[in-house]
Symmetry: C2
Subunit: 277 residues, 2 copies
């Protein structure tokens, strides 16, 4: 593990690190905030998955999670959104594909499969690495994210209900198999047989029997991606009569930006802390 930066913040430590990833066949970057409580005891872990075009840094700079994480004693881990490096396949002019657009899936198609194994990286390799290097209580994990990262958090929770005590999302893509900004990427990463897409689609996972106790979703009503990309009402429909709980809050006047995320960050961290207690 290489330390890129470590800065004291809110009594804890915001760090950025790189490490060689086997899953992604290259160097990966991630950010970890360790609250002051972790000096004396292992703390619960909250995973934050970022959206399209982001790295680990966007939420670290603009998410405003440290104050509340320090208060609640939560370790916040922010992975990157894709593999990186000169030898990694990319579509330079397409922000919905390649670098910054890993969609938290394991690609099966050429040339993407070589590096784009973000599902394995985020659910297996990085957690194993984190538990070796940080004072974490891996029996208490939660997961949340934004947009593409909301999709990531929800699908990962649905597939790993025993691992996560809670899941929430800011403006998640709930049905990427049919959303305008993800269909193209899914076809390239996973092939044209849409049956293979269903394990990375929250609505399809629920239809296919996956379960998680409850979700919190905040969605800006003034979000320009709402109608064609996000469509939380599809998840509302999908969970009907499943027993899955959903607190969906439409937030008037809010858009898709970190101004929206930072506003409701405290609520989400409290939601997780209550369920991690």
């Amino acid at each position: 593990m290489k330390v890129i930066s470590q800065n004291t913040a809110f009594g804890g430590m915001q760090g950025v690190y790189t490490h060689p990833s086997q899953a992604c066949a290259g160097e990966m970057t991630f950010a970890v905030f360790v609250p002051p409580q972790a000096i004396t005891r292992p703390c619960p872990v909250v995973w934050y998955l970022s959206g399209l075009t982001c790295t680990h840094a966007n939420v670290m700079d603009k998410g405003e999670y440290r104050r509340m994480a320090a208060e609640l004693g939560l370790i916040i881990i922010c992975p990157d959104t894709s593999p990186r490096g000169e030898n990694v396949a990319d579509e330079l002019t397409n922000w919905q594909m390649g670098k910054g657009a890993g969609f938290y899936l394991d690609a099966t198609q050429t040339p993407w499969a070589e590096h784009y194994q973000m599902y394995t990286y985020v659910t297996e390799e990085l957690p194993a690495f984190i538990s070796q290097h940080f004072k974490v209580d891996m029996n208490r994990q939660a997961i949340f994210g934004h947009s593409m990262g909301g999709h990531g958090a929800m699908t990962i929770a649905l597939k790993n209900p025993d691992r996560f005590k809670s899941c929430s999302a800011f403006a998640p893509i709930v049905a990427p198999s049919s959303a305008d900004w993800s269909v193209g990427a899914f076809e390239k990463y996973l092939g044209t047989d849409t049956a293979a897409w269903r394990r990375y689609d929250a609505c399809a996972l629920v239809e296919d029997g996956a379960r998680f106790p409850e979700f919190l979703i905040d969605q800006g009503a003034a979000d320009g991606f709402l109608e064609k990309g996000l469509r939380p009402w599809l998840f509302e429909e999908a969970i009907r009569d499943t027993g899955i709980g959903l607190t969906l809050r439409m937030q008037e006047r809010y858009d898709h930006s970190y101004y929206f995320i930072s506003t409701f960050m405290d609520d989400h961290l409290r939601w997780h802390a209550e369920r991690l207690a």
Copy 2:
């Protein structure tokens, strides 16, 4: 006034605007956060002046002031740190001079004097413009800043004690006339006669009789600029027996970054709100 962006945040509105400045002979950018309380009544104004290399955007992205400003009903105004534009004099390889390094002074030397009139801009032109375009209570103003902007806030408060109800600073340059990173700039902006420097130096201003009721200063003890650039003990010495109050807090393990600033932002906004009440 041109609207660059407006985003809902914490029930209020974070905006970025440009306007033609007469003082700086060019277009200037500034950020304004308007809290929800300003919908119904004029709100007090808190000026935040940024440090070397920054624009209006650094504190807007990383300062984490909106939550508390919305709670306390404060309008936060963040000017740029210098004039901008292709025709503005600069030293491209020197981050301590020119663009991003206006030092909140009115330059008198060629070629700097043509655009670098940041003192007049921040204390006269921008306040007049703000009072025309925003629902502000200009009888209740406070000022604070970081590093070069801490110097700006303290010198402006000392020269305008009737205008500001309070002043605070994060890691301010308290004696730029002798600090390693400002001597070169002062010589170029103001000439070699150091008598002209004294009105932009907090310690010299106090020695020359300027007064302000009290200051709050937070300083990271692990700040790499502490010994040669910041030296808050010089201000402690300067105010001895003057009646000026000083709350100087050395913060163990904190550096010069926005991780430090954001950690203590709430304290500073509360300090101002109490004195603006």
